[in-house]
């Protein structure tokens, strides 16, 4: 264990940091490392970054949410306040992750926000029909992206009320 890079830990919180898996408020499902970094930076501005847990594909997301595999010692009942979900993901795609969350009585009330680069009307309609709570197109512009994430962090982290 070295101190090297320790000051960067808040921006690089990864699934290996098992100790935080219980009090997660925002689960970020994102495979693009640049988008992860940007999202964490934006959330940090709102003091929300310490409650974020990042998973990098759909299979890992399902393991986390349903307390399986590497997350077998989590409890499913410890639900995050919001799940930020990309659509195009390795292994299991975002639509399938959404379907699984919204069709399980233990997890269906957890707000899921799609955070994706897809503007396709078909994706929008599909996800709403599966019960997504909100659909956000990632702004291409850097500062717009940071602004959007920070607003959505405040909305789902603070303004919205969950039933648990």
């Amino acid at each position: 264990m070295t101190a090297l890079g320790a000051h960067r830990a808040p921006l690089q919180r990864e699934s290996a940091t098992m100790t935080t898996a219980e009090d997660v408020e925002i689960l970020l499902v994102e495979d693009n490392p640049n988008d992860v970094e940007l999202t964490l930076r934006a959330l940090q501005k709102q003091n929300l970054a310490s409650k974020v847990f990042v998973v990098k594909d759909g299979a890992e997301a399902l393991d986390f949410i349903f307390a399986a595999g590497a997350f077998a010692n989590r409890k499913v009942e410890h639900l995050p306040k919001v799940i930020l979900l990309d659509l195009k993901l390795p292994k299991v795609d975002g639509i399938e992750v959404l379907r699984r969350i919204k069709s399980d009585d233990r997890t269906k009330h957890t707000p899921v926000v799609m955070l994706t680069s897809s503007q396709e009307e078909r994706d929008v309609l599909n996800t709403y029909n599966l019960g997504v709570n909100s659909y956000i197109v990632k702004p291409v512009d850097f500062s717009h992206f940071v602004h959007a994430v920070s607003e959505l962090g405040v909305y789902w982290g603070i303004l919205n009320k969950v039933p648990y």
Partner: protein, 139 residues
């Protein structure tokens, strides 16, 4: 024939003070939101199930005359024409039972009205910005 005008927000609110405050807060934003107001649940359903343009988001109070908010939400979610419209419950109720019931029926978001004037104002403006600018509705 004139085209029916598009509507951004259907505000379902029976309390005239809250309706007035909400409208004022919306006007203060730079969103130029087109707002339609329904004063009770029956009016809300009548609007939604008419041929009038669908709103991009519904802000729904829970305690309403004639038909309450939970029933409005249930009917909206049970009809293919309205199922996918985002519904945000905006209420003074913090009761666990109400929150759970709304999520069970598929509400998109549940926001408790701040009691304090300034905070209420801010919340309305944050809500409108989120649902009209950031969120993409399926239309």
């Amino acid at each position: 024939m004139t085209e029916p005008e598009a509507v951004d927000i259907l505000l379902v609110e029976d309390n005239p003070n809250d309706a007035e405050l909400t409208q004022r807060a919306l006007k203060k934003t730079s969103l130029a939101a087109r707002v339609e107001i329904a004063r009770d649940g029956a009016e809300a359903l009548e609007y939604l199930f008419s041929r009038r343009p669908k709103p991009r988001v519904i802000f729904l109070d829970l305690k309403l005359p004639k038909i309450d908010g939970v029933e409005v939400l249930r009917r909206v979610r049970n009809d293919d024409n309205t199922r996918s419209i985002p519904v945000v419950v905006l209420t003074s109720s913090q009761e666990e039972r109400d929150i759970t019931e709304c999520y069970k029926l598929g509400v998109n978001s549940y926001v408790v009205k701040p009691v304090e004037f300034d905070k209420f104002y801010k919340a309305v403006s944050d809500l409108a910005t989120y649902w009209l600018i950031l969120n993409k509705s399926p239309l």
